[in-house]
């Protein structure tokens, strides 16, 4: 599994409905947090958990008190989001 590709695919698929230009091209520095509302962030979490469960055959809970923290959220840069998910997979 290429985690980065999986996470890009999740956001890109959701963005087909959102049509948010800022998320059309995702790179390491993309700040997802400032471009979407909290329900959309929840969509990313839910879809990522689902994609990981399909890929790994087990549930990896991603919900964390940092996720929606405007100062420390891993969604502040896509690179941090990749690292955050990788840590969660490793710690479960």
């Amino acid at each position: 599994m290429n985690l980065k590709d999986l996470l890009i695919n999740v956001i890109s698929t959701l963005n087909e409905d959102w049509e948010n230009e800022a998320l059309a091209q995702i790179n390491d520095e993309t700040n997802v947090f400032i471009h979407i509302d909290s329900i959309s962030l929840l969509s990313i979490i839910i879809e990522t958990e689902s994609a990981l469960e399909n890929e790994l055959g087990r549930y990896v809970p991603l919900a964390d008190e940092k996720l929606m923290d405007s100062q420390n959220s891993p969604f502040l840069s896509f690179k941090d989001w990749v690292n955050f998910v990788a840590e969660k997979i490793g710690s479960q």
């Binding site: 959102w18 809970p61 919900a63 996720l67 929606m68």
Partner: protein, 348 residues
């Protein structure tokens, strides 16, 4: 540490009355200027389908609770004069002063020898209220009537599309007596540093004068509430399992406050529970019922199971406004727990 144990109290019945008006998300499309995409997101991520609210805001949470209490007392053949205490847990009292509970007790026909008081709590209110009711039984009362309910329609900003679609109106009545032979365990918590994550700025004496036209409405910081829930709820389960000397597989039902589908699904998966043990549809159908959400879930989705002649090991857990949270482990056997009642308007 507020870990409590009780040996005498038993729950004998639970009745919940819900608002008489059913509003689907589609019904609210024009009010909140929802796009089809907004509706699809709310349904998929938060599980929202509809809510039951009061159609006439001359009525209040106390009216919902009184209807529940009348049915409960009648079906359990308990006379109002047998009730030693009435506790009303709500964030939507009839008046800021006095307490609503004495008036409810009188409306039900309870005599002046009945003690009655309010508790101001929301999402954790059922568990907290139950602990107080159980404490009164332990202190030698015979029958306590616990009422938990809110009519959120009175404090939601009708233009707030992030909050208003979530909230329903409901009132529950729970009868507790001294017939138990088995202990009940409670763990209760609070953290006032998050008191403004969910609050009504203009609802008390701190902010009497305000230029904010929305000061009288509930304000919610959804991200802070989400973070709080994710932080405290899993730990709370570990602590109630330890305090009650039980484990996750020995518990038959987990009846939780119902904030949204994602939170409940997350807890279910973290604990590795099957759907049948943790009902999670209350908010989807009825809306967030605040302090009535736990009894509302019993009546809405566990009515048959709770009326069986078989002892059930149950955990109730509430978490939210305050911030305040708590869980308890109780044994339930053959209690009166009918399906929810629809509020009937009765002009006095």
């Amino acid at each position: 540490m507020a870990n409590l144990i009780f040996r005498k109290p038993a729950i004998k019945g639970i009745v919940t009355t819900v608002g008489d008006r059913i509003l689907t998300l589609e019904d609210q499309k024009q009010q909140f200027d929802f796009s089809d995409d907004d509706i699809a997101k709310l349904k998929k991520n938060l599980g929202i389908v509809s809510k039951y609210v009061l159609s006439d805001l001359r009525f209040t949470a106390s009216d919902l609770c009184v209807q529940s209490a009348r049915q409960l007392l009648e079906k359990l053949d308990v006379k109002p004069e047998e009730i030693d205490a009435v506790i009303f847990v709500t964030q939507t009292p009839d008046y800021r002063a006095p307490s609503t509970a004495p008036n409810i007790a009188s409306r039900l026909g309870c005599p002046p020898t009945t003690m009655a008081f309010d508790i101001s709590l929301g999402c954790s209110g059922f568990v907290y209220g139950l602990s107080i009711a159980f404490g009164l039984i332990e202190g030698n009362l015979s029958k306590v009537l616990l009422l938990t309910g809110d009519a959120a329609s009175h404090y939601i900003n009708p233009g707030d599309k992030t909050f208003a679609p979530l909230m329903g109106d409901a009132g529950s009545a729970i009868l507790i007596d001294d017939s138990s032979k088995t202990p009940s365990h409670f763990c209760l918590y609070s953290d006032g540093t998050g008191s403004k994550s969910l609050y009504i700025p203009g609802s008390g004496t701190r902010q009497k004068e305000s230029s904010d036209p929305d000061a009288g409405f509930m304000h919610m910081n959804g991200a802070e509430v989400f973070n709080f829930t994710i932080k405290v709820v899993p730990k709370m389960f570990d602590e109630i399992f330890a305090w009650a000397n039980t484990d996750k597989d020995s518990v038959d039902y987990y009846v939780l406050h119902q904030p949204n589908k994602y939170i409940l699904n997350n807890i279910k998966k973290r604990l590795g529970l099957p759907d049948s043990k943790i009902p999670s549809e209350t908010q989807s159908i009825y809306g967030n019922q605040n302090s009535a959400s736990i009894p509302g879930t019993v009546n809405g989705f566990l009515s048959h199971q709770f009326q069986e002649n078989q002892i059930k090991s149950v955990i109730f857990a509430g978490f939210g406004i305050g911030l305040s949270w708590g869980a308890c482990h109780v044994l339930i056997e053959n209690i009166y727990a009918p399906a929810p009642l629809l509020f009937k308007i009765e002009e006095n």
